[in-house]
């Protein structure tokens, strides 16, 4: 096919990709967005097939069949609680694909690789390989196959930086001597190691940001490959993905009031932080029964649920929806307060609640729900902790200070469902436990909610 026609088709595909993201901006049109992107993908693939003659169609068909067999069950079977893992896995797949294709392109062109191409190829491979191992570790942590807490050791940051520096040194060497192909495996190995060490040292609750950053890296490496192959649609799609990951990462890190550097190298969480300057005052927490909580709920007019990752681990989103139904049947207004970093990936809580058939107009973002807490009768915290800690507003010394939180403490009563008095992910005790208007109800979230429903039916 004429090269020019291929370019026109790529332009059309780019339009469909961009339109897809535009339609994705609201729920009403989001599904059209997905279909628009599918059309863009189909156009890109057919234009490429028409422009390049594939000699080994058998291999192509085999690979496509394998991709379909692996991809279909992942998409159809993965539970909504496990979507973060599957996202990490897809970043691993995508970045490995890009890194391997980059390597193949290098070996094909070597030694006739000009410095610019070699520089882009090296950068693309470094990003691709480190995203592969980084995302694989994120997958293992999210799937709880390895502990989620940060893996810390002395000199961690220095070792990481030396490691990355060496990878870049090999890249520079390749740019200057593109014929020395032995440097490529070295570059690959160092990048793989860097990605592994980087994410091993990051705690589970920082995963929303990490996944978004890895998303951005995967997209940027794809765009890099587009430069090397002079393929325009690859540049467009890669940079759309890269900027998407970047925007999400910025939103996530702002929601935690932390910088990228702090998230990537801060190793927050798990490592027991010393409690704030020897808190001498012994404070007591009043535990309440499910029946007490049911009484308070039955007298409320406005109730807000604040779910967190604990709701996902105890699989209690469906029971929570049932409780909401019971309350609504009594004429009580129910809303859900969604903190941007609740869960293990951007938007995770929304998907879990949508799965439980919660209408999306009951889901309120932090900025919209916070002004409503003072007029809320009861705020119910299920599986969330740090994102409700008032210390973020009031205690300048606290590691959480400055982080935007859900102002549940401003509700008339807070029902806090929790297994034990343990500190949250940040290692900081939740001030909320000791507030006069807080009712601690201890127990497994799913069980407590089930008992609450039963108790409410008797009132």
């Amino acid at each position: 096919m004429n090269d020019l026609i291929v370019l026109y088709l790529y332009a059309a595909a780019a339009l469909f990709f961009a339109l897809g993201l535009k339609l994705m901006s609201e729920v009403r049109t989001a599904r059209y967005g997905n279909w628009s992107a599918i059309v863009g993908m189909v156009i890109s693939i057919f234009a490429t097939l028409a422009a390049f003659e594939i000699h080994r169609v058998d291999l192509l068909v085999l690979a496509v069949i394998v991709g379909t067999i692996v991809g279909t069950p992942i998409a159809l079977k993965v539970p909504m609680t496990a979507v973060p893992q599957r996202t990490a896995m897809s970043h691993a797949f995508g970045s490995l694909a890009v890194a391997l294709i980059g390597a193949a392109e290098y070996y094909h062109d070597a030694p006739n690789v000009d410095p610019f191409t070699m520089a882009v190829l090296s950068g693309e491979m470094i990003l691709g390989f480190l995203t592969f191992t980084g995302s694989s570790v994120a997958f293992l942590k999210l799937q709880a196959l390895i502990p989620g807490r940060p893996f810390v050791y002395p000199g961690r940051v220095v070792i990481s930086l030396v490691n990355l520096g060496l990878a870049i040194a090999f890249a520079v060497y390749l740019v200057l001597n593109p014929s020395r192909s032995f440097a490529l495996p070295a570059l690959a190995a160092l990048s793989l190691l860097f990605g592994f060490l980087l994410v091993m040292a990051i705690g589970g609750a920082d995963m929303p940001t990490v996944i978004a950053i890895l998303n951005s890296f995967a997209g940027m490496s794809a765009a890099g490959l587009g430069f090397v192959l002079d393929n325009k649609i690859l540049i467009v799609a890669g940079s759309l993905d890269g900027s998407s990951g970047l925007v999400l990462a910025i939103i996530m890190s702002r929601a935690m009031n932390r910088s990228f550097i702090n998230i990537l190298f801060g190793a927050v969480g798990g490592a027991k932080e010393v409690d704030e300057r020897g808190a001498t005052e012994h404070r007591t927490v009043q535990g309440y029964s499910v029946d007490d909580a049911a009484t308070v709920l039955s007298n409320a007019r406005k109730v807000v649920f604040a779910p967190g990752y604990g709701m996902a681990t105890s699989q209690s989103q469906h029971v929570l929806k049932e409780l909401a139904d019971v309350l609504q049947a009594r004429g009580i207004d129910v809303k859900y307060a969604i903190h941007p970093v609740a869960g293990r990936m951007p938007g995770h809580m929304n998907v879990l609640l949508a799965e439980a058939n919660v209408p999306y107009d009951q889901l309120y973002e932090m900025e919209r729900i916070n002004p409503l807490f003072p007029e809320t009768d009861v705020a119910v915290v299920v599986g969330a902790n740090d994102v409700t800690n008032p210390a973020a507003r009031t205690k300048p010394g606290s590691p959480l200070y400055g982080m935007p939180i859900l102002d549940v403490d401003k509700a008339k009563t807070v029902i806090f469902i929790k297994r034990s008095l343990g500190a949250g992910f940040s290692g900081v005790e939740n001030e909320l436990f000791y507030n006069e208007n807080t009712m601690m109800v201890f127990g497994d979230a799913k069980q407590v909610l089930t008992e609450l429903i039963a108790a409410l039916k008797t009132k």
Partner: protein, 109 residues
């Protein structure tokens, strides 16, 4: 060298495409409702798996078995992401519902 001049000729246009797409991406994503960040990630992941066609190009330009193997693995990985990315996005989006209409509410009671 012919190869070198070709790549440098295309560079300005490619840079322009890169810069504009990045800005476009940032503006588009900024306006995506937070409700939809999870399906958005699975969608952009599928879109960036257009690296599938990069693997096709490498497959087309070589007969070397090792390189064909690398490209074939690339095709399989990228196609896995295309299939699972678009299908999962569709599956998640189907779960998002508005308030039940009157008839549905009656049926529930």
């Amino acid at each position: 060298m012919e190869l070198v001049s070709q790549i440098y000729n295309d560079l300005p246009v490619n840079l322009l495409i890169f810069v504009l797409s990045t800005f476009l991406g940032i503006e588009l994503i900024r306006h995506v409702s937070r409700l939809l960040h999870t399906p958005l990630m699975s969608l952009t992941n599928a879109i960036s798996s257009v690296s599938f066609i990069a693997a096709l190009i490498v497959m087309a330009e070589t007969t070397n078995t090792n390189l064909l193997t690398l490209a074939t693995i690339g095709v399989a990985l990228a196609f896995t992401n295309i299939v699972s990315g678009f299908m999962l996005t569709e599956r998640i989006l189907r779960m998002f519902r508005g308030r039940p209409n009157k008839e549905e509410r009656k049926a529930q009671q």
